[in-house]
């Protein structure tokens, strides 16, 4: 197909977009992002760190949207899958490398006195060998995804039979308890001291930050496309049917338990990749990082702000909140004199208030969910034209 758009036509389309909700939200986001980046002391580093936080939370919130927004499961235990991915990346690939190099790889790998000696030696090997590094990175993510899928399946077993409130509480309790286990069982990921993660991007030298963040953004984008395509597929439409009317789904012969299980497994697997990416980026894995407020409540706030069920909405929800939170962190010292408390709490306060306001006054979020067309827009147009012609012909 040839693209034939006049400049004027393009301008008109742009104006229409700008008058729509998406356009305004997009414009505000762009202005905010550029303001925050340009006023920072180091614009590039600021931009990259915003993007890195954005990508990991975007992946996690996408998975939440898949389970809650599309399937209607009250996933109040998002942190469970995220920390499973993080623990898997913290515990397994490093041990395999240590084993291959003949370093301590058993239960004592989690001991901080051993760990801080082992990981730099693995890093040295990875740095000298780019192919191995890339393989290590991909393997880590695969392990995370597999572990996430496993935990998703495990939680789905008792959870699938429960009703709304019960299901939400059980999922929340699962997440909390798993964090406690990670914090207490030192061999897993070092307990309260945590473990270091071997760095697979060391071979890029001074470009490490840029390369790492680009890879994260790339993975986030690929997962976004995947989830978007999924929600247009027959499976995605089944999910929405389940959410909107379970009875109808039953009548049309859909196996509710199976569909819900699949959604939980897929969502958990995606969230685990998000958690794994986050710990690789940070360079260490500590159980206490993965608490309920950070990885369950905040993704909910992101999703509600963007628009429940709308993946594009989730993109903007995560972006806007990430920007504001980064802004608060950067301006922390300047704000310290203005308010008589640590300004970092403003961000939790803001999250809670925005969540309440959105639920009360804008329940569909900034960019509400739209009915999905299963075919591309121009194909639908062409089909309509053909039908019209045929009607005229008769």
């Amino acid at each position: 197909m040839k693209l034939k758009i006049e400049p004027k036509e393009l301008w008109n389309r742009f104006l229409v977009l700008m008058r729509s909700r998406e356009g305004i939200v997009c414009l505000i986001t762009a202005i905010g992002l550029s303001l925050i980046t340009l006023t920072a002391a180091e614009p590039l580093a600021m931009f990259l760190s915003i993007l890195a936080t954005f990508s990991s939370f975007f992946i996690v919130t996408l998975s939440l949207n898949l389970e809650t927004g599309e399937t209607g499961i009250p996933q109040f235990g998002r942190v469970l899958a995220v920390l499973t991915g993080a623990f898997a990346v913290g515990a397994i690939p490093g041990r395999i490398m240590a084993w291959a190099l003949g370093l301590p790889c058993g239960l004592d790998y989690g001991d901080d006195r051993v760990n801080y000696k082992v990981v730099p030696r693995i890093n040295a090997v990875l740095e000298a060998n780019p192919a191995l590094s890339i393989g290590f990175f991909i393997f880590s993510l695969l392990i995370a995804a597999l572990a996430g899928a496993a935990i998703g399946w495990l939680t789905s077993r008792p959870a699938i039979r429960l009703r709304e409130a019960y299901l939400g509480i059980s999922l929340l309790a699962f997440g909390d308890v798993f964090m406690w286990i990670g914090q207490n069982w030192e061999p897993l990921v070092g307990g309260t001291t945590g473990v270091f993660i071997p760095d697979p991007f060391r071979f890029t030298g001074g470009y490490r930050h840029i390369v790492m963040v680009s890879v994260m953004v790339g993975i986030a984008f690929l997962l976004f496309v995947f989830v978007e395509m999924l929600s247009r597929s027959p499976f995605g439409r089944t999910l929405k049917m389940l959410r909107d009317c379970e009875l109808a789904a039953n009548v049309y012969g859909r196996d509710i338990v199976k569909v819900r299980t699949r959604s939980l497994v897929l969502g958990s697997s995606i969230a685990a990749v998000g958690g794994g990416l986050y710990v690789i980026y940070v360079g260490s894995c500590k159980a206490a990082t993965f608490n309920r407020v950070y990885w369950t409540f905040w993704p909910w706030a992101y999703m509600m702000l963007g628009g429940i069920g709308s993946h594009v909405g989730v993109f903007f929800g995560v972006m806007i909140f990430t920007m504001i939170r980064a802004f608060i962190v950067v301006k922390r010292h300047a704000l310290m004199g203005v308010v008589p408390f640590d300004p970092i709490w403003l961000d939790t306060l803001l999250g809670g208030i925005v969540l309440i306001l959105i639920v009360l006054f804008m329940p569909y979020g900034l960019i509400p969910e739209k009915p999905k067309t299963t075919l591309p827009h121009d194909k639908v147009e062409a089909m309509l034209k053909a039908v019209k012609q045929r009607v005229r012909g008769t």
Binding site: T68, G72, P74, F76, P158, L162, E164, A165, Y166, G168, I169, S170, L172, A173, F174, D176, V177, W180, I181, Q183, N184, W185, R292, V293, F297, W300, A301, M304, P340, F341, D342, W345, L346, D347, T348, L349, G351, G352, I353, V354, L355, I356, V359, L360, P363
Partner: protein, 317 residues
């Protein structure tokens, strides 16, 4: 006379029972599963702590104040968040989520309040051992006595409130069938407000009580909320008596059970305390989904009576 672990275990269990009762009252009346219970409990602790630091005395004399403050937090949640959503007939998930937002906001206010205490009043509010201010009565720490007395008296008060007063009966009618209740002229909004007042108050009272046996931190409530949920679910989620009993059982199992296990298996067990409420919750949901309240108690009593009676007869002849 009572081993110290059992004494603190009883105090903890009583606190959990009060908080679980609050969750159940709010859920029964408004279909809202209150996540903000965690921070409401923490606020109860901070009210007691601050008053104790400022005015001295015994922590117990500030418990009524904690209850009132919790009731105020509950009322704010009802008028600000819950009422508009109930009017809109929002789904259970939406109701839960809105309390999640309230929880986040309250958590932030607690942290801000702690900063205020630290910078302005020169206190150290982020790691508090309230048991240092406890007293001993007849060889038992007062927290144990207060906890048991509070749990029993609240059970009694609620029982009389729900069965003997006109408003209590109206409340039960609304729980049973809201449409029919409003058809005969019961103001359901009053019922909802009462539920939030009672629930919030019990949460704060429970938090103040719990801080007498566990370390008080700004995230204290967030740590024990799984235990509260487990107590409420073990109680059946639709029975006030059940929730008090369930909370008591879960709290005792968590505190004393883990200690007994640690005697048998070694000290490492103590770190996994939080697994106990989860296991209780999972077992309840899988095998007794209606909780303790769903058990055929009358049948059980009759059987026991018949059994005991039979044995007694055997003894007599």
């Amino acid at each position: 006379m009572i081993p110290p672990v059992l004494a603190s275990g009883l105090a903890y269990a009583g606190a959990i029972a009060l908080m679980a009762c609050g969750i159940t009252i709010i859920y029964m009346c408004t279909r809202t599963f209150n996540f903000a219970h965690a921070t409401m409990a923490t606020w109860g602790f901070y009210i007691t702590y601050t008053c104790l630091m400022l005015y001295g005395g015994s922590p117990y004399q500030y418990f009524p104040l904690s209850f009132l403050f919790g009731a105020l937090l509950g009322a704010i949640c009802y008028f600000g968040v819950n009422r508009p959503l109930l009017k809109r007939k929002a789904s259970e998930i939406t109701l839960m989520m809105s309390t999640m937002g309230y929880d986040m906001a309250l958590l932030a206010t607690i942290q801000i309040f702690c900063d205020f205490l630290t910078y302005r009043l020169g206190l150290y509010p982020r790691m508090v051992t309230m048991s240092a201010y406890d007293v001993e009565v007849a060889g038992v720490s007062a927290s144990t006595l207060v906890s048991v007395i509070l749990a029993v008296s609240i059970l009694t008060i609620l029982h009389f409130f729900l069965t003997k007063t006109k408003f209590g009966i109206a409340m039960r009618a609304t729980i049973e069938n809201p449409v029919l209740a409003s058809a005969i002229g019961i103001d359901s909004e009053k019922v909802y407000l009462t539920a939030w007042l009672l629930g919030g108050g019990l949460a704060s009272l429970g938090g103040a009580l719990a801080s007498m046996v566990i370390t008080g931190t700004p995230v204290m409530g967030n740590i024990i909320i799984v235990t509260m949920f487990a107590g409420s679910i073990l109680g059946g989620l639709y029975s006030i008596y059940g929730s008090l009993l369930g909370g008591f059982v879960v709290g005792l199992a968590e505190y004393v059970g883990t200690y007994l296990l640690s005697l048998a298996l070694g000290g490492w067990v103590l770190g996994y305390r939080m697994v106990v409420p989860l296991v209780i919750m999972a077992v309840t949901l899988l095998f007794v989904p209606r909780g303790l309240a769903g058990l055929p108690w009358e049948k059980l009593f009759r059987k026991i009576r018949a059994y005991v009676g039979g044995r007694l007869k055997g003894v007599g002849t």
